[in-house]
């Protein structure tokens, strides 16, 4: 099956200066990212804050431009589209935000905000817009009668449903969900995760799901990429990543994740040290400052992302030593 969206050697650097005349430094948010997502697939992106997860999402949606590399949507490069054409493309790709309170305009009714997407792209004839808004609200489990209300009258979970309805309005093929459940309580989070899973089946969507909650990612995603300081360090089917991680960082991340299933008294292996600054990452393998397996080689070259099994890729020189360790129960 041909992928809906592909990232090809994406790099993004945010030049930053210390002051007006200070030394120029590049903050590399993304470096050489290759990724493709097909219909019906949900790719989870995990990693620590600042490792480039949201930047990747924004670039895939065309809301930000890469410094190098490109994004192909159904085989066509996004940067070939400009102005009105670019806006036309937007209807095929949508975004769900983390903060359910900031992502809706407090001054406009939720119905009007959902209808924007329908109007911008003439998805349905003008006369049918109210009916379509009602259908979308029902789809996300809300009563159609709530359309005239303002966002302030809804709870966090309900707002997140509205935001999802808004994203679905232009009938996209690809959705980026940037930490859509992080701001929600566990019991509400479960409602939204279920909703996303249902929609993926029903609408055959391609989805990029960004989250730092590994349990949610494991539950929802079909494939997972693990990022560290702007690079993908490991990629593979969700179940395999969680039960048999190969990259030392993935292993550490899983060990650091508290779990109800872990037998009492047994705490995970704790990774020492801090996340290096993305403005000044270590040479070679960026993880070497915290890696127990690091050797001299790791400092001199960047380990390439290599195939270590069916659909599994990992970027570590010593991946042969890591098999069979770590993993969540």
């Amino acid at each position: 099956m041909s992928p809906v969206i592909e990232a090809l050697e994406l790099t993004r650097n945010f030049p930053s200066r210390s002051g007006w005349v200070g030394a120029k430094r590049d903050v590399w948010a993304l470096r050489g990212i290759n990724l493709s997502i097909s219909r019906g697939e949900t790719v989870g992106v995990v990693g620590e804050s600042g490792c480039g997860k949201s930047t990747l999402g924004n670039i895939l949606l065309g809301l930000d431009s890469p410094t190098g590399g490109g994004v192909r949507f159904e085989g066509k490069y996004l940067h070939d589209f400009k102005g009105a054409h670019r806006r036309q493309m937007r209807k095929r790709m949508q975004l769900v935000f983390q903060d359910p309170f900031g992502s809706l305009d407090p001054r406009r009714s939720v119905g009007a905000q959902i209808a924007d997407g329908l109007r911008n792209h003439d998805v349905v004839p003008a006369a049918e817009i109210p009916a379509e808004v009602a259908r979308l609200l029902t789809l996300v489990g809300l009563a159609p009668s709530v359309a005239p209300r303002r966002p302030s009258q809804f709870s966090g979970g309900q707002r997140q449903r509205i935001a999802i309805a808004r994203a679905l309005a232009p009938r996209p093929d690809f959705i980026v969900a940037d930490e859509p459940v992080s701001a929600l309580d566990v019991s509400i989070q479960a409602q939204i995760v279920n909703l996303l899973a249902d929609l993926r089946e029903e609408l055959d969507l391609a989805m990029l799901f960004i989250s730092h909650d590994l349990h949610v990612v494991r539950h929802l995603c079909t494939r997972v990429v693990v990022m560290y300081l702007g690079r993908i360090v490991e990629e593979g089917p969700a179940e395999q990543i969680f039960t048999a991680p190969r990259h030392p960082y993935t292993q550490a991340l899983l060990a650091a994740t508290p779990s109800l299933k872990r037998p009492a008294g047994e705490t995970g292996k704790v990774l020492d040290g801090e996340l290096p600054s993305p403005a000044n990452p270590p040479s070679g393998c960026a993880f070497r400052t915290r890696c127990a397996l690091a050797t001299g080689d790791c400092a001199s070259a960047v380990p390439p992302l290599e195939t270590v099994g069916p659909e599994r890729r990992t970027a570590c020189f010593h991946a042969d030593l890591t098999a069979g360790q770590g993993g969540l129960q």
Binding site: S18, G19, W20, V21
Partner: protein, 318 residues
């Protein structure tokens, strides 16, 4: 820190240049010929010969770029040209008067800070109480009364009716320090009044905001007493935005000196400006406006530096 200061100085210099250019542009972009405009009184057309003479005296007959180059070159030598009224060079006059205006501004800023910060803090701590209401009311009243009204009233009450101080004038400090200070008092207080009001309001708002901050809760969680919390963790933090406002208010403050020097006959730059504008003495006006603007930039530079001393994040982050 040094780097930060160097950077600020650089920015200040660029601003000085930009302001000079702006003034030049204002003069040359206004529709019509400045010489003609300056000489025309009422509806009678000015004498063409006089216009031509003035044009050549002001250098207006040269190409604009050449004029600009000459203008900037003169400025770098601090040469402001000669007055149209009496042909005297302007620079010495400016040098004589600048310190007097500066003295007024500094005295006002000191008075305003010394009164405004404590009163503002008090108002915030007693928010909703009668003392806060009183202070806020006084501040609003002070803010709404124009300086020339305040100045004139002070003259009426203290000079005319009570006869405590003379209505205005100036005596150099070296000549008679006491008399100098007594003459300084009224104009300085007049300028300080609205500034004090601004400081009170700002300090109050800022202290109220800091009181809500988590780190104040931390200070209480440490078991500190009220005094140290207010001093070390509230007022200290609250000063940062107050200083910023002081910088923004500098413009109004300097504008205030124009009126106050006029009211009290204080022979500073600004009173000089009024007469220059009345006489439409273009080189004089430009000279004074430039010097005052430079002063303004300089004061803001000082404030930027104070800011960095108060808030460690500023100098290191930038």
């Amino acid at each position: 820190m040094l780097r930060y200061v160097a950077l600020r100085v650089l920015i200040a210099l660029v601003l000085v240049w930009l302001v000079s250019t702006l003034v030049f542009l204002v003069l040359h972009l206004v529709p019509g010929d400045p010489a003609e405009l300056l000489l025309s009184a009422g509806n009678t057309a000015p004498d063409p010969e006089a216009v031509a003479q003035l044009r050549s005296q002001m250098g207006l007959d040269r190409p604009v770029l050449a004029q600009y180059a000459a203008y900037i070159a003169d400025l770098t030598h601090l040469d402001f040209g000669v007055s149209l009224r009496d042909q005297n060079p302007i620079a010495p006059e400016l040098a004589l008067r600048l310190p007097r205006t500066l003295e007024l501004i500094l005295a006002a800023a000191v008075i305003a800070s010394l009164i405004g910060v404590p009163l503002g803090t008090l108002a915030a701590m007693r928010d909703g109480g009668w003392s806060e209401k009183l202070v806020s009311l006084l501040a609003s009243a002070a803010l709404s009364t124009p300086v020339f009204v305040v100045g004139t009233t002070l003259v009426l009450v203290f000079a005319q009716w009570l006869g405590w101080i003379s209505a205005g004038g100036y005596v150099p400090l070296a000549e008679d320090p006491l008399r100098h200070l007594s003459l300084l008092a009224m104009p300085a207080v007049t300028i300080a009044l609205p500034l004090t009001a601004v400081m009170i309001r700002m300090t109050r708002a800022s202290v109220l905001e800091v009181l809500e901050k988590d780190h104040v809760r931390t200070a209480r969680a440490k078991g500190l007493a009220r005094g140290p919390i207010i001093r070390r963790h509230v007022v200290r933090n609250a000063l940062v935005p107050v200083i910023t406002v002081l910088g923004l208010e500098m413009g109004t403050l300097i504008g205030g000196t124009v009126l106050v020097e006029y009211v009290f006959n204080w022979p500073g730059l600004s009173g000089y400006l009024v007469r220059a504008v009345e006489a439409r003495d273009y080189p004089e006006v430009v000279g004074i406006v430039l010097v005052i603007s430079f002063l303004f930039v300089l004061l803001n530079l000082l404030i930027d530096i104070t800011y960095a001393v108060l808030d460690p994040r500023v100098k290191l982050a930038k």
